[in-house]
Structures are given as C-alpha cells and as structure tokens.
Symmetry: C2
Subunit: 369 residues, 2 copies
C-alpha cells in the first residue's frame, strides 16, 4: 500500500497529537455520519463488523507474515488492513483495525491469539487480589499504536469515508479477563459476580474508566464515530444486566460521548433487554438478527438511530436469497432516517468475498431515495 508522509500530513498529525480539538477533514461520503445523527440520506449507509479480516485474501496473505497482535501494534500494518475493504468495496465507513482485548493487556493481563483457538488470557482474574493488581493506564500511551493507526488511516482515507474507533464494553472485557478466553456458559464470570460482588464492582469500575478513556482517546486521535462492543451482554438476564453491568457501560458511554462524536452501542442476544441497552446509552443502538428491526426500533424509540441486522450467514446464500433478506431489513427500517445497515455480528471467515461486494451494492441500490 505505502503511505507517503507529506508536509500536510505531518501537520495534521501534529494537530491530532495536540488533543481533541483537531480539525477533521469533512468526509466526502457523509451518509454514515448523517445516519448516526438521524438525518436524511440519499441511500442507506452500510459497513460490516469485522469488514477487515480473514474472509479477504489480502488479509490472509498479511497474516502469513504477522500475528494479529503484530498487525494491531504496527500502525502501518493496521492502516493497510483497515484500508483493504475500503479499497475493495463501496463501504460507507472504515473501522480501525484493532481488537477488543489489547486494553486488557495494557491493564496487566497476558494476551495471546492462538491459531485455531482464538484469544487466550494466560493469567485470568479469579480473586479480588487479581482485580486489585490491574492497572488503569492512559490509553494514549499504553495503546498509542491504535491512536497512531487512526491518525495514519485518516491521512490515507483523505476524507473518502468516516473512520470508526471502538472498544469492547466492560462486561465483555470482564468475561474474557475472568474466563481466560471464549466461553459458552459464563460460569466463571457469573460466579465471580454472585460470589465476590465487591471484586466484580471494582473490576467493572476499572474497566469502565479504561474503556471510556480509550474511546475518548480514539476520538481525539481522529475517529469520527465510536462503537462500544458488548458482544456478550446477551449472556445475562435483564435483571443482572441492570444491576451488574448497565452503570458501567453507561459511564464508559458518557465519557465517549463527551468527545462530541456519535457513539454506537452494540450487543448480541439483547432482544430481551433492548430498553436497558438504550438506557445505558448510545446515539445508535446495534442489534443482531434475532429480532425484527422494526420491532426493535419501535421498542427503542425514534430518538436513537439503529444499526443492523443481517444474519452474517445470509452472505453464504445465493444472491436472490441474499437480496430477499436485505429487502426485508430495509422494509423493516421503512425509510426512517437513522438506519445504518450492518450485519448482526462480525462477518465470518469463510464468507464469499463476491457476496460482500454484492451486498454493499444491493443496500445502496435498494434503498436509493
């Protein structure tokens, strides 16, 4: 790809480094930003969670040479991967290539991505002393590689589309920190909640601080929209979510929103508690495919935008069936301002890349006002 550092770019970098008051170049394609603010658009904006990733041959090629963490921690590589889907498809937003787990590493946990197994935390949290030992470092320093990747990506994008920054939400991060990896049952996480509630609240307090600050730092570095990924919030009952999670997501979201950019609050399996997800905050609520988008939006109310909600596996369908799914979702959104088309969760590694191109074109074409 190759990044040419010009005088102009360096000036932008200097401004970015100075803090939140950087002048962001207005995006030429602003329909994503307009939808976040529930303004009218020429057609529905679309981006895809994990749009930079394994389904693209360009990404897999890079992964032959570098680990995930190497790519994340080398701004030039993170920029390259961030740009891959932007160069390949007519997407309406870029999302910085990173992962939800590096903040845990910055806080003192030992993180490794093991091929075929996914992320592993080698020293998971089990007792109050483990929580006490967690640091809450300044993400501008401890995660400076992502801030730098954001600055460099903005130069590379040069206003083509807006750039999204993101963070895992306190609950989702806590579950990885406690379980030591992915889990189906969340037994260790919930056991800690129920049996050591003080340690839980201390942990969530630290995570809320870290996450809020991390999101804000990304906006300062140039991210124009922020997304909070509470991917596993749906593991909880609504009552437990309200008691043990909501206050911390709320705090992180408030700090993120104080940066002045729109914030997307996303979760999966949240059909039973959309009202609580909204109460926690966010300008845009991201929903998965397990709920009818119209029903979800009716429950959330029209004072928030909505993002979603194609089943990622619909991308494995023949084009006419894929188009039927897309048409249904657009009909559920009903042309109301504030719909951002996305998948209901991350795009899957085996996804046929030509269907991604077809999907993006289809969303624009079928929603053209």
């Amino acid at each position: 790809m190759g990044i040419t550092i010009t005088a102009e770019h360096s000036a932008a970098e200097v401004r970015a480094a100075q803090g939140p008051k950087i002048a962001r170049k207005a995006s030429m394609n602003d329909r994503f930003l307009r939808a976040c603010r529930r303004e009218t658009v020429d057609c529905t904006p679309v981006w895809l969670m994990r749009q930079a990733g394994r389904y693209m041959v360009e990404y897999r090629k890079l992964r032959e040479k570098y680990t995930i963490l190497e790519i994340i921690k080398t701004p030039e590589l993170a920029v390259e991967v961030t740009m891959q889907p932007i160069n390949a498809f007519d997407l309406d937003a870029a999302i910085i290539f990173a992962d939800i787990l590096p903040p845990l590493e910055a806080m003192g946990l030992s993180l490794e991505f093991i091929r075929g197994e996914g992320p592993v935390i080698h020293n998971p949290l089990r007792i109050a002393a483990d929580v006490d030992a967690l640091k809450v470092p300044d993400p501008r320093e401890s995660l400076s590689f992502t801030m730098e990747a954001i600055r460099q990506t903005q130069r590379e994008l040069d206003g083509r589309v807006p750039l999204i920054g993101f963070s895992g939400a306190p609950f989702t991060l806590a579950s990885y920190a406690i379980e030591g990896g992915a889990t189906r049952s969340f037994v260790l996480t919930k056991s800690l909640i129920y049996n050591q509630p003080e340690a839980w609240h201390d942990l969530m307090d630290k995570l809320a601080t870290m996450v809020g600050d991390y999101l804000k730092a990304q906006a300062e570095a140039g991210a124009q929209v922020l997304q909070l990924f509470d991917s596993w919030a749906g593991a909880l009952s609504p009552a437990d979510y309200r008691r043990y999670v909501l206050p911390y997501s709320q705090r992180a979201l408030q700090v993120a929103q104080s940066s002045g950019v729109p914030v997307i609050h996303f979760g999966t399996g949240t059909s039973g508690m959309l009202e609580l997800i909204k109460e926690a905050g966010g300008d845009v609520i991201g929903v998965d495919w397990r709920v009818n988008l119209a029903d979800a939006w009716d429950r959330l109310g029209e004072d928030v935008a909505i993002q979603g909600n194609l089943d990622p596996v619909a991308l494995f369908a023949p084009i006419p069936e894929l188009e039927r799914h897309v048409t249904n979702i657009l009909a559920q959104a009903g042309g109301r301002p504030g719909h951002i088309f996305n998948l209901g969760h991350g795009i899957l590694p085996q996804t046929p890349v030509e269907h991604v191109a077809a999907l993006v074109a289809m969303v624009h074409e079928l929603s053209r006002r």
Copy 2:
C-alpha cells in the same frame, strides 16, 4: 435401586403396550399438571431441565460403567437415572432420561457421544441425496427402549409425580444432523437452508413426522406431559424461523397434542420471536433467562402457561443471591396460574448439588399461596 416386576406391573405394561388408551395412575402430586393447564396450585411447581445428569454423584458413578447411549438404551438404567433426582429432591415432575439425538440414529445417522467433546454425527447430511437416504422409522420400534423406560419409570414412580417425555425439535435436530455436532455459527445448516431449500424442506418434513410420532409414542407409553426442545431456534432470525422452521414445529406439536397430554414448547435465545414460538404451538411456552418473565408472558398472552426462567449459573450463587433471583422470577410471574418454575436451559455439570435442593425448597416456600 432395583425394580420388582409384580403381576400388577406386568398388567400395566400390557395395557401400555396396547396403545394410547392406557389408564394412567393419577399423580399424588399434580401441581405440575395443574400448572400446565393453567389451574390454581398450592405453590409453584418446579423441575429442572437435565435434572438427571452429571451434577449428581449417583449419575457420575453410573457413567463410570456405562456410556450415555448404553444408559439410554437399557431401560432399567434409564429408569434408575430418571429416578435419581426424584429421590434426592422434592421435584414436581420427572423427565425420562434420554437424549434428543437417538431419533437421528434411528433415521440412519451414526451417533457417538465423545467424552469431553459432546455428540458427534459421523455421517452428517450435506446434500439432497443424504436427506433422501434418511429413514422415518416407527419410533415405537426403533426407539422402543425409551418407551419401555417410560413404562418402567411409571411403575417406579407409582404416581409420586408426573413423568415428562420429550424430543428435540426439527430445527435443532437438523442442525446436529448437518453440522455433525455442536456449532456456534450454524454456517452449514443455514447454507443448506439457503442453497438447497428443497433438500431442507424434505429434511424438515421427515423430521417433523419423526418428532411428532416420537412424542405421541411417548404419551402412549405413559408420559403425562411432552416437551419439544428447540434449543437452537434462537440462532435464526424471526423471518427465517417463520419461513423455514415454524411449519414443521407446528406439525410436530399438533401430532404431539393429538395424544391429549399438555405439550411444552421450549427454546433459548427466542426473546425476539416469542410470538412465533407461540404461533407454532404448545400449551406451555418455555423461555430462557434472557427475557423478563412478566414481559414474555405479556407478549405471549394468558392463554398459554409459561415455564422458566432462572439462569442456570444462578445455582452457583450463595443462597441469599439465589433467593433474590428466585424471588424476582416469582414476582414476575405474579401468582398468575400457569407458571412452572424451571431453569432457562439445562442444569450445568458443575452445579453444587446442595443448591439444587435449596432451590426446589425455595420455590415451593416462596410461592406458597
């Protein structure tokens, strides 16, 4: 445990074998049956999905000598396991020890339970010809061991509590048959749905016939309530559920209900489509913990009973926290007739057994009218 075959028992067995018109001994404890029919009860009935299983030392001891399939296929052992929780706790219903997958074996698939991995189908369905090759045998013969276990358990129970028979639902069975085991993404299942819809409908047609007949056969053998487990229905969007699944669950449920016993229709992750689960059928709708029980019941309407919905991991909480969860759920049910207390999914292997005893006592005590 030891089963004594008396002249009376043999006569009952003969009657049972003659078909659906057997005289079932009225249960001494009928509050579960009354709740299924939305009649008033002295206190809320409670049973637990997978109440016979690995969390009990008696079960683990038996599993040292026998595989899961050996226990299921040896009626005396299945009876013994079915009775273990009934003898240990004050539960209001027994559920026959079996598994949802043996019907797939009867249809021609090669099933194995691998320790630490769970169920594996060695010859999963991938193309239309695989579906064509599936048999739809009479469950009275191909799954006679479960019918016999039901008859023997009824003798052993001798009216103490009602006995539940069950089956996996067509979609959940199809997903195992296609994926060859458990899955997170359901990529193969949904790919078959979208890419080979005729093969999918043929498969679901066969499964609906098999499942309906299997449930009916269990009622004929003496099961007093039937439960359809659509554990993975929540993997689907409401639109896909309606189009590709609902008609088949509906048919299986209708056949089950034609036996005259109450039918429970259970799924997890269904908060976004409870109305469709109800439309498919069932006298009782089983919900998981991802929805407030009061909200769920309001949406379902009071013409159905409801079963649920404690998070199975709440059993890992200290007793006061567990009691708080139980109190909340009972308050959500609000004393309306037709609530059956249960977990939102199966009890977990590591569950502390003394908390199970405490839970059962707690439900009865806190709901006593």
